[in-house]
């Protein structure tokens, strides 16, 4: 499956380089070409079926055998193991103090925090400050490319997908699996990653359900939210987070008092 995703990603990256840009403020189609949209909608509905018939039952089972406390430890463990990814990317973004913060957190939480199960560093004033290769590419002014639904993974863009793959390969969990798994290294890695995403999914399941209920076109709503949320990444050439400020009084509003 992941090999397939890799292939898709390569195609998507090429597509992104062709410069088919997508913008969030466009009305309706949000700058999406109709070919891409019909692919996206098909993949979106496939993913929703996988969600409904595979992920949701598994996540419900997982929720039944774990409690909040356990899920919190699992989440902490994965956050900690990915801390070096943030450290490396903060260096690539020229933010050395933030990188030091990540390394400090990693050192403290891996030791005193019992291999990351407890986030002791936060209570010591080293706040969580996550970043990844996607954000590094954003600060390097690499364009995002069009909105795309990846199989299983879900909403993405060529740049986000690149970041996802690079972060996956640079994750310590990948290297540990390589070291200790022998021939089955891939299985170990997929298993570990599977738990990471299952935990994340279980925590957000009800939110997704209510989002679907509250929308008339779930695909369009997810797309809009995903792209808006990405505007929070650091903008091109800066270390500032993007803002969500937009003009609330576009030309459309000029006759608003006349109804």
């Amino acid at each position: 499956m992941l090999n397939k995703i890799g292939k898709y990603t390569a195609i998507l990256m090429m597509c992104g380089m062709c410069g088919c840009a997508s913008t969030v403020n466009d009305e309706g189609a949000q700058g999406e070409s109709s070919t891409l949209e019909s692919y996206n909608r098909a993949m979106f509905s496939f993913n929703n079926k996988v969600d409904k018939y595979v992920l949701r039952p598994v996540a419900k089972g997982y929720k039944a055998v774990t409690n909040d406390y356990v899920r919190q430890r699992v989440s902490n463990f994965f956050n900690n193991i990915d801390e070096p990814i943030s450290a490396a990317n903060h260096i690539l973004q020229g933010e050395f103090a933030d990188s030091g913060n990540n390394l400090g957190r990693f050192a403290i939480n891996t030791t005193i925090g019992l291999v990351g199960l407890f986030d002791v560093a936060s209570s010591m004033g080293l706040e969580k400050n996550k970043t990844g290769f996607d954000e590094t590419l954003a600060t390097w002014c690499v364009p995002d490319g069009p909105f795309i639904i990846l199989p299983i993974v879900g909403p993405s863009t060529p740049r986000a997908a690149t970041g996802f793959v690079v972060d996956g390969y640079s994750s310590p969990s990948y290297w540990i699996a390589q070291e200790s798994g022998g021939e089955d290294a891939w299985l170990v890695y997929y298993g570990v990653s599977g738990l990471k995403y299952l935990n994340l999914y279980a925590e957000n399941m009800s939110l997704l359900e209510s989002l679907e209920e509250g929308s008339i076109d779930y695909y369009e709503a997810v797309k809009s939210m995903y792209l808006q949320n990405r505007s929070k990444l650091k903008a091109c050439g800066t270390s500032e987070n993007g803002s969500a400020d937009y003009d609330f009084d576009m030309g459309d509003m000029d006759d608003m008092d006349n109804y």
């Binding site: 309706g28 949000q30 008339i216 993007g242 969500a244 459309d252 608003m256």
Partner: protein, 197 residues
């Protein structure tokens, strides 16, 4: 003559400033009171779901300017909509929002809002009241309330969670739906009517 002109100019510019300067404290207090009431009377209260829904509907419609948001959400279709379509849309949009949000009370259990001052919006008559919702693991959730003054009352016109604006999302979703629907605006109204029932 020159003096009079200068005087008029001064008065005018003062009026301009006074008009443009939306009162940050007033806006912040309004959001603070709303969230406090919401948490006390709905989230942490033992009232029945029916009672909670009633209080929520009242708080929601009193503090959000749903007429304003509804118009923004319809975007360019607002212009071509008939008076009846506009009226129907605003009413359905109100009902649909109240219905959707009422189901999400439990998600806010044990949560609180930490107020982080105000920020300017690109429109001088609007501003953001910045809040954060602390979570057990990781960075707090960033929630901004876009507020403006209407007929002497502070009203919320958008809620932005982690850079995701509810008004913008609905606008993208609804205008795309209308563009695709063979019945246009009526298609959207039919869909909403079926959901609100």
């Amino acid at each position: 003559m020159k003096k009079i002109l200068l005087c008029m100019l001064a008065v005018l510019s003062f009026a301009q400033i006074a008009y443009a300067d939306i009162n940050a404290t007033k806006a912040s207090t309004m959001v603070e009171e709303l969230t406090r009431e919401g948490i006390e009377k709905i989230i942490n209260s033992n009232a029945s779901q029916e009672e909670k829904n009633k209080i929520f509907k009242q708080l929601f419609t009193e503090n959000l300017d749903l007429d304003f948001i509804g118009k923004y959400v319809l975007g360019r279709y607002w212009r071509t909509a008939s008076a009846q379509q506009r009226k129907d849309f605003i009413n359905l949009y109100k009902e649909f929002n109240v219905q959707t949000w009422s189901k999400r009370f439990d998600e806010f259990k044990g949560k609180k809002f930490v107020f982080k001052g105000t920020g300017s919006a690109n429109n001088p008559n609007q501003l953001y009241v910045n809040t954060e919702v602390p979570v057990e693991n990781g960075k707090p959730i960033d929630v901004k309330w876009r507020v403006y003054e209407h007929n002497g009352k502070m009203k919320i016109i958008d809620i932005i969670i982690e850079n995701v604006s509810l008004a913008q999302t609905a606008r993208n979703e609804y205008t795309s739906y209308i563009a695709k629907s063979p019945k246009g605006i009526d298609g959207l109204l039919e869909n909403l009517r079926a959901k609100v029932k």
